[in-house]
């Protein structure tokens, strides 16, 4: 039987790669200086599939790869410069969002594929949308010198798109629950 250490190494790397892959899919820039990307879907999936600890590790690994200069953010961005850009609050929010999604997913019911999907939607909405947006707004106020109201209104533009990502995350979790019935969502019993 595979040890949890080896599984952890592989799955953490896999989900860090998933976030990177979503970053290679083209972004759409908004006038606020914040791009619409699919990467938050990767954050949501990491939290739901891996649980809090491994999801946090996956997103920290992704940020480490970025800091080393790999062009893994949407639009081919990378390097230390991305951590001081207007959208860096959202970036710092990735591991926190993954942690929050994983924590919620670990406690919500997953006894059937449908329940797992509903739980994934709720966990993603709170962890992958609310948490990341709170970090993003703080970043916009601190780095883009926007007022709290401006930053809050600005970030609301992304919410409908992010809710669609929550639905996508729930659909994937539903499919995984059916395709891999042994999978323990939220890291309950990591094999």
């Amino acid at each position: 039987m595979t040890s949890s250490r080896s599984s952890g190494l592989a799955y953490v790397s896999l989900f860090a790669a998933l976030v990177a892959v979503f970053g290679l899919i083209p972004k759409i820039d908004l006038p606020l200086g914040v791009p619409i990307t699919l990467q938050t879907l990767g954050v949501m999936l990491a939290g739901c599939m891996l649980g809090p600890k491994k999801a946090l590790q996956a997103l920290l690994l992704f940020l480490a790869a970025l800091a080393l200069g790999l062009p893994l953010l949407s639009g081919g961005r990378g390097g230390l410069g991305v951590f001081v850009a207007p959208a860096s609050g959202y970036l710092i929010g990735f591991p926190i969002g993954a942690l929050a999604t994983g924590l919620l997913m670990a406690y919500l019911p997953v006894s059937s594929p449908r329940r797992a999907a509903v739980s994934a939607f709720v966990a993603s909405a709170v962890g992958g949308v609310l948490t990341i947006h709170i970090c993003g707004v703080i970043g916009l106020v601190a780095l883009a010198k926007l007022s709290w109201t401006q930053a809050l209104w600005g970030t609301l533009v992304f919410v409908p798109g992010d809710l669609i990502k929550c639905v996508l995350c729930a659909i994937v979790v539903h499919s995984v629950a059916r395709g891999l019935p042994d999978w323990r969502f939220g890291g309950r019993a990591f094999r």
Binding site: T2, L9, S13, L14, A17, I28, L70
Partner: protein, 197 residues
């Protein structure tokens, strides 16, 4: 897992993996710092010349490059539609330049060499109790999985096209995730045999 590494020797194969990673980090950051269209056009032209200098070694990455160019055109078209053509052009140029550099690195550097470099760079972290070899292994695995995602996506998309005549799009996300989870489990099994207890 498939690899983009090309056995067709080029001048870039002779450059050390560490120097290539350092240059990639510098240029990756520079691409983000500049937003002047003329400067970025010049950067993209330089990246194209650099990539073309690898000759036949670039053949394994032709399809990936076509996808990047198509993505760049889509970005530009979308931003032009949104009355921001220059912003679209800047994004597309950054994407193309960064992709060319990243692909050149993958074509000319073995995964093991990258792993060695990352491990040596991360070794100061050992003083703080962080196992640098495990972190380097995770970074290397991450890069290989990133490549593997594209390969698996292409296979699923081809199969979907054969069945339905059109691209799979987001419908492929769930089967792709299941395939990748299964791959990761196989990697974990292999790691279990190699890693020290």
């Amino acid at each position: 897992m498939g690899s983009f590494y090309s056995d067709h020797r080029t001048w870039l194969h002779a450059v050390s993996a560490s120097l290539k990673l350092i240059l990639l980090a510098i240029f990756g950051t520079a691409l983000f710092v500049f937003d002047n269209t003329v400067v970025l056009l010049a950067c993209t032209a330089l990246c194209l010349l650099f990539f073309a200098s690898l000759g036949r070694a670039t053949l394994p990455a032709r399809k990936l490059l076509t996808m990047v160019v198509a993505a760049g055109l889509l970005i530009t078209a979308f931003h032009a539609y949104m009355q921001q053509p220059l912003l679209g052009l800047v994004s597309a140029l950054r994407l193309l330049s960064a992709s060319l550099l990243g692909i050149a690195l993958m074509l000319t550097t073995r995964a093991n060499d990258l792993l060695d470099v990352l491990e040596s760079w991360l070794s100061p972290l050992n003083r703080f109790g962080i196992r640098s070899n495990a972190l380097a292994l995770q970074l290397a695995l991450m890069l290989r999985f990133t490549e593997h995602f594209f390969i698996q996506w292409k296979r699923l998309d081809d199969a979907h096209r054969v069945r339905t005549g059109k691209s799979g799009g987001f419908k492929l996300l769930a089967p792709l995730t299941i395939r990748m989870l299964t791959s990761a489990q196989r990697v974990a099994d292999a790691l279990d045999l190699r890693l020290p207890p």
